[in-house]
Amino acid sequence: MSNAPNEESTVNENDLREAMRASLTITPPPPMASAAAVAAGRRAVRRRTTLAGAGAAAVLVAVTALAVNPGLRLVAGGDGGGAPWAGPGVPSAYPTPSDAGDNTKPVWPTDGDGKPQEDATARSGERYEQGKKLLAEILAVVPGGWSTPTGETADKIPLRSHQAAVEGDNSGKTWGYLAGAAVAKDGGTGRLLAEVHTKDNGLPAEPCALARKFWDLGGACEVVMVGTAKVGVVQAAGGDQGIDQWAAYRHSDGVVVYLAQSRTVSNGEANPEPLTELPLTVPQLAALAADARFHLT
């Protein structure tokens, strides 16, 4: 790693790990007291109990008022009380912070400059260009009447992006390309995304099983025929997934293409106004997933 001013930095994830580990050893304060934490917890429980009691009393008053004056209307409220961990997908245990050193540093493929990649992402060369090509192909299929804004959202998420990352055993045998572009119409801004996995990717062959593998998002799947090609198309189940609809197609040589569209421009929290309609119809989305232009190797 170099920190020389005005030179291009080569900081990688292992440098970051080491810096984080070192920063925690510089004058950490003494351990926090368990007794104080217990006391704070007790106070919080007392506050909850008090508020719950007040709430119950308020309900009693409201019900009484309703009985006295049936013309009054009650408005439902409350926070539901659900703990944030209750949702699916949260593993039961995580590893403690790693104290592994550079001996765990993975070996990455050679980048376009002839040196090993700094991490899974190619920053130049053939693979990088494939990611760039994927973005160009997305922009080329944006329907007429839609604009393709550039720049970034208020929380710094770019409106266009592309990436090429090595997958599998990191040997460079299998690659994933991801690209996304903002699309806008009638005051709303959403996005189109494409993700391509080169052959030997281990993804399932059945169209809907393949489609459901996309970012592990759930939703209802249907098989759409594009000529003789079977394409899995999923409508997102809703919620905070950020992607509304996507199509998945596996070419005969094993290359997998996902084409996705979203009413929102990013998964961030500072998006512009979302789209009221998606840019592509289901047949269009399916046809593009099977289109040879997105078949990248």
């Binding site: 001013p5 934490a37 917890g41 949260v90 961030g268």
Partner: protein, 164 residues
């Protein structure tokens, strides 16, 4: 002390240090880190019976901590350091103490959600899927945010930085 208090105190003694370290990496300030840890453990205390029954204490506390940090959106002391024209002395060997300090200052300049991804992925060593679950986003977003976070660090590290 009740059974709950005893079990909670034992868990706090065992894990508050690691959680405070994660919080420090997120916010860059030990006092603020302790506030985040206290908030997360207080919430754990109020939900102790439900959470402990599911044996998911670490994920629960970590998730509250991360979300509190992101919701809060405050920046720590590193934020006060701004790029200036006068460069620091050139560092010696790779990953020197100066390099690390500059890297941590750069980390404080990374947008909060990207920083959370970097800490979860490269400090907590979480998988993409686990980090996505904590942050309530897709695995693809975690991947792209991690890549962007590292890219932001590289950009920031290429700029001259000195204290105000």
């Amino acid at each position: 002390m009740s059974d709950r208090d005893a079990a909670f105190a034992e868990y706090f003694a065992a894990r508050s240090g690691a959680m405070r370290g994660t919080a420090f990496l997120l916010c860059g300030d030990w006092h603020r880190a302790e506030d985040l840890v206290q908030t997360a453990f207080t919430k754990l205390y109020t939900h102790w019976n439900r959470v402990a029954r599911h044996e998911a204490l670490d994920p629960y506390v970590r998730q509250v901590l991360i979300r509190t940090y992101i919701d809060d959106g405050r920046r720590g002391w590193w934020r006060r350091e701004r790029p200036q024209e006068t460069p620091l002395d050139r560092a010696g060997p790779a990953v020197s103490a100066d390099d690390r300090l500059m890297l941590m200052r750069a980390l404080a300049e990374v947008p909060p959600r990207q920083r959370a991804v970097l800490v979860l992925r490269y400090w907590e060593d979480m998988s993409v899927e686990a980090a996505a679950a904590v942050l309530s986003c897709s695995p693809g977003t975690v991947k792209s945010q991690a890549a962007r976070g590292l890219e932001t660090l590289r950009t920031l590290m290429s700029q001259p930085v000195t204290a105000e």
